[in-house]
Amino acid sequence: MKHKYFVRKFFLLIFSLFIVATATFFLMQAAPGDPFMQEQAIPEEIMNSMYAHYGLDQPWYIQYVKYLKGLVTWDLGPSFKYEGRTVNDIIREGFPVSFILGLEAITIALFSGVILGTIAAVKRSRWQDNFAMILAVVGISVPNFIMATFLQYLFSMKMDLLPVARWGSFSHSILPALSLAALPTAFIARLTRANMVEVLEQDYVQTARSKGLSTYQVVLKHVLKNSLLPVLTYLGPLTSTILTGSFIVEKIFGIPGLGGWFVNSITNRDYTVIMGVTVFYSASLMLCVLGVDLMYTVIDPRIRLENKKMVDG
């Protein structure tokens, strides 16, 4: 049954990817303007040879088939704006940077979110709880670009503690990672608190307490593990939040990651890069969600996939 469930999910993923790829292709076909439009007019012959070079002189269905073939063989074509570079090059250079930054942000968000949520749940209705939850609602309300500029202004420009921008050492990554992590931290804190409050009322927690375990031991040994499961399901949306956040944060901090490249390609109307990166992002996101699904069933044997299917569908 498990097996069948994942095969089904996998086909849904392939189908969704196909839809993304097709939609992206036709949207870019419908896009106004010309990728080679420049300030001064280019002679018609040169334009024609450029069209021929990039295969733009062919009818759309041939372009579409070529594009799909390219996707399957992982050849995303050349960039229109940066001569001699392919979309593959851009992804190969940009993605590792974004990946490290994202991983750092996810780690920060998971740890600080869970700790904050745990404190709030254990000290329920006391000042620690109120404080943590106020912090969380503020974290959810402040958009990431405001958080990023605020941190940059405060720690780099005013206090001169950390580099203002660019990429290189660990210190360069602290502020961007913090700005990316702020929203998910707040979300995880709320999620952890809500689950933990419920778990703390379970009978086995009472039993553990009456055996004489301290609050610290009860939380660490009995409560934490059981209240963290729902946090796991948030890992999928979390990746998506971090990913879209990276567009903004990499732009603000001048980081040469894939998010920054993507934003540049939007401003430059570099259509092949937009298409390639969109498909790449969609594939990574969907794989993450599938991975989390898989992990969830391995970790929590109580989840029977047949039930899950009913809830989902």
């Binding site: 849904l12 993923l13 189908f15 969704s16 839809i19 993304v20 939609a23 992206t24 949207l27 870019m28 419908a30 896009a31 106004p32 609602v137 503020v138 959810i140 309300s141 402040v142 958009p143 670009f145 405001i146 500029t149 605020f150 940059q152 202004y153 420009m157 608190r193 809500a194 409050v197 419920e198 998506s240 990913l243 879209t244 567009f247 903004i248 732009k251 603000i252 934003v263 939007i266 401003t267 109307r269 937009i274 969109t278 992002y281 969609s282 996101l285 969907m286 969600v289 989902d312 569908g313």
Partner: protein
């Protein structure tokens, strides 16, 4: 709050006495909402924000487009309360014009999402069978696509403007509402009063509009309130990427984006729009949480 109302809203646990007069669903929710201080704070901020957005532009001595090149980038003062931007435009006036756009986009997107989502979800939940299966598979696929990427792509190919932003936001935005409404309808459908309505000869549509949708109104309103801050955020995010409304009109997002480059020397150009976005989002989130708790106290944590 009056003492008597508190007693009605939460009867003491051991009392067998019923309140003399029943209170309506709405009144009950309203009483609970009023007791929630953060939510009342959020509501107050929003009322002030919306009424100022409507009123202030009429009374301001400046317009959002007039330039004072000699006075560009001036700091907040008695003439220019929030300072001026790089063309010497009055930021105070622009903030309130921007409020109109940002708030309108947020509220309009939420209303359109609601209309489409409720209809789709309720219809799927009501008809059942193969049609429902197909409709929900469609939302599954749409749900698995990365929303913001699609919104960005649409913004790239369409003419920038408020209508475009609304289209891009709602094209993926209604799915969440549709899924929630369908789940609600499936539950409510099991109730005896629905069966009774059918027995009395009510048509499917009558049952849908008189019984199924009204009974899921709590979830609908809660989802809607939490859609507004998400839409305001997305609009600001798009503007920040340069895909928002075009000059001389400005939303909070475009103003924040413009202010970013001047952060080091003219921080007020970023601080005011950024502050207004954050405060509005905060107010909406507090109100949304409050409304959720008011309609469904079981969810309160």
């Amino acid at each position: 709050m009056k003492e008597s109302e508190v007693l009605i809203a939460t009867p003491p646990p051991f009392s067998e006495a019923l309140p003399e007069k029943g209170i309506s669903y709405w009144r009950d929710a309203w009483i609970r909402l009023r007791a929630n201080r953060p939510a009342v704070f959020g509501l107050t901020v929003l009322v002030i924000m919306i009424s100022s957005a409507v009123i202030v532009p009429f009374f301001s001595p400046h317009t959002y487009y007039e330039t004072h090149l000699a006075l560009k980038n001036s700091a907040p003062s008695a003439t220019f309360w929030f300072g001026t931007d790089e063309l010497g435009r009055d930021l105070f006036t622009r903030i309130w014009w921007g409020a109109r756009i940002s708030l309108f986009v947020g509220i309009a997107a939420a209303v359109i999402d609601m209309a489409i989502g409720v209809f789709y979800g309720a219809f799927a939940g009501m008809v059942g069978g193969k049609i429902e299966e197909f409709m929900m598979r469609m939302t599954d696929i749409l749900h698995s696509l990365p929303h913001l990427l699609i919104v960005i792509l649409l913004m790239v190919i369409m003419k920038p403007g408020v209508t475009t932003i609304l289209i891009a936001l709602t094209i993926t935005g209604w799915i969440n509402m549709a899924r929630i409404v369908r789940a609600q309808i499936l539950q409510i459908k099991q109730n005896d009063f629905v069966m009774a309505a059918y027995m009395l000869g009510a048509s499917r549509w009558r049952v849908l509009f008189r019984h199924l949708i009204p009974n899921s109104i709590g979830s609908i309103i809660t989802t809607m309130t939490l859609t507004i801050p998400a839409a305001i955020f997305t609009e600001a995010f798009l503007s920040f990427l340069g895909l928002g409304v075009q000059a001389p009109i400005a939303s909070w997002g475009t103003m924040a984006s413009d202010g970013l480059s001047a952060l080091r020397y003219y921080p007020w150009r970023l601080i005011f729009p950024a502050g207004f976005i954050s405060i509005t989002m905060l107010a909406l989130n507090l109100l949304g949480d409050g409304i959720r708790d008011a309609f469904d106290p079981r969810l309160r944590t």
